[in-house]
Symmetry: C2
Subunit: 239 residues, 2 copies
Amino acid sequence: MPLQPVSRRSVPDEVFDQVLGEVVDGAIGAGEPLPSERRLAEVLGVSRPAVREALQRMAQTRLLDVRHGGTTTVRDFKRYAGLDLLPRLLVRGGEIDTAVARSILEARLVVGPGVAALAAERGGPALEATLTETLDALAASEDDVDRQVQALAFWDQVVDAADSMVFRLMFNSLRAAYEPALAALAPLMAEEVGQVGAYRVLTAAIGSGDPDTARAAAEHVLRPATTSILSALTALEES
Amino acid sequence: MPLQPVSRRSVPDEVFDQVLGEVVDGAIGAGEPLPSERRLAEVLGVSRPAVREALQRMAQTRLLDVRHGGTTTVRDFKRYAGLDLLPRLLVRGGEIDTAVARSILEARLVVGPGVAALAAERGGPALEATLTETLDALAASEDDVDRQVQALAFWDQVVDAADSMVFRLMFNSLRAAYEPALAALAPLMAEEVGQVGAYRVLTAAIGSGDPDTARAAAEHVLRPATTSILSALTALEES
DNA sequence: CAGGTCAAGTGGTCTGACCAGTGGGTCGCC
DNA sequence: GGCGACCCACTGGTCAGACCACTTGACCTG
């Protein structure tokens, strides 16, 4: 195992994670009040500003309802949380939540082709060359992890070409969730990124400028791994 | 204009918005350093904890890179921001960014049918009744704004039925962005929510359990308003 | 019993201090 | 003169304690 940067978790980070854990794991439940900042500070053995910072960060992501003068209450994260909570929901209690994993694959399969279609409509003449270059790097790579990185770069360029702020922001969040786990997931996704041919077809389709062709080609890239992992997950659930 | 709750912006909120403005409007640019916390506190006339809280909140959304001992630098929000930044990007400099508005409509058109298809696959027998109930409320409503609320409730139930965490989280972010502007956008979207018939067809399609039918029906609900607003935006851009 | 009053508890903010990590400049050695 | 180790100034990280602003509910008053 290669050397890794030591993780330097700040005190507010720690508090944030702990409180988030209470909320996500249901120990506190939507609508229930949180202990006061002073009390939390005392219990956790940290200063009040540290607690405050953590709670404010949670409030920013709509996980808490902080009211001046009143008690801070927990909101229903399933109804209010954004995509940034995805990593935390994917691994709940040390285990991978298969339902969440499934939803990621399904969403990929819905959004990916849509983005590819937009990219086909809007991608300029230079796009196909850029994509091809990335694919060449992908094809030349010998390492699973590096292939993942290249595939991610490929999709990044497709999203750029789609020229859609919403899809760009979605992609940013999903990438932020995916990258930390990239090494762990590389073997699982190896099948997909090994199909350089399918990627080349997709590149040509996007370059052709026809949205429907691009949509179909993207689905052809994403479908196989989606299906096989999905059925693996189903088998896992039953065991 | 009806009475509204007075907005009580906290000091860190104010700082957050100001710094965010500098970043989003490009006054500081990706990679450039931010003034030190002490300096910012001095310039803005607030305490350092207030500045600190604002900066930490921005760091949490991947907009800043804060390093202990080093200088805090601005990250490229287009590459790292999540969906929560959408409202801020939609109205830049007091004006609506038509490109962003366009991307919202396009994303709706891609994701909506996908969600509907999943809902058709997974929705239980009670789903159709629940959706019909919401549609009855929508049909009975006389107010544009209230119709928007009902339509939102309808899609909320569809997303629930799709049983997909990723789409749920996406929907949460989009709803959080949409709701504050709901009253302003109601006239624009009135055409869509007026088509109760299309919604009923969609409900039946979802109830039938056939994903493809549901997908097509959802597109039929979303397409007309999407097309008309899109062309209005194009006209706006050219003027 | 309705109304206003008030006190306790909560979050909001500030001050000032000190700890901890970074980076550039400086000084001394080769 | 070149180069390395050291040091210090500056950055963010954390804390303690105080006070302000707001909400709530108990209490008191009419």
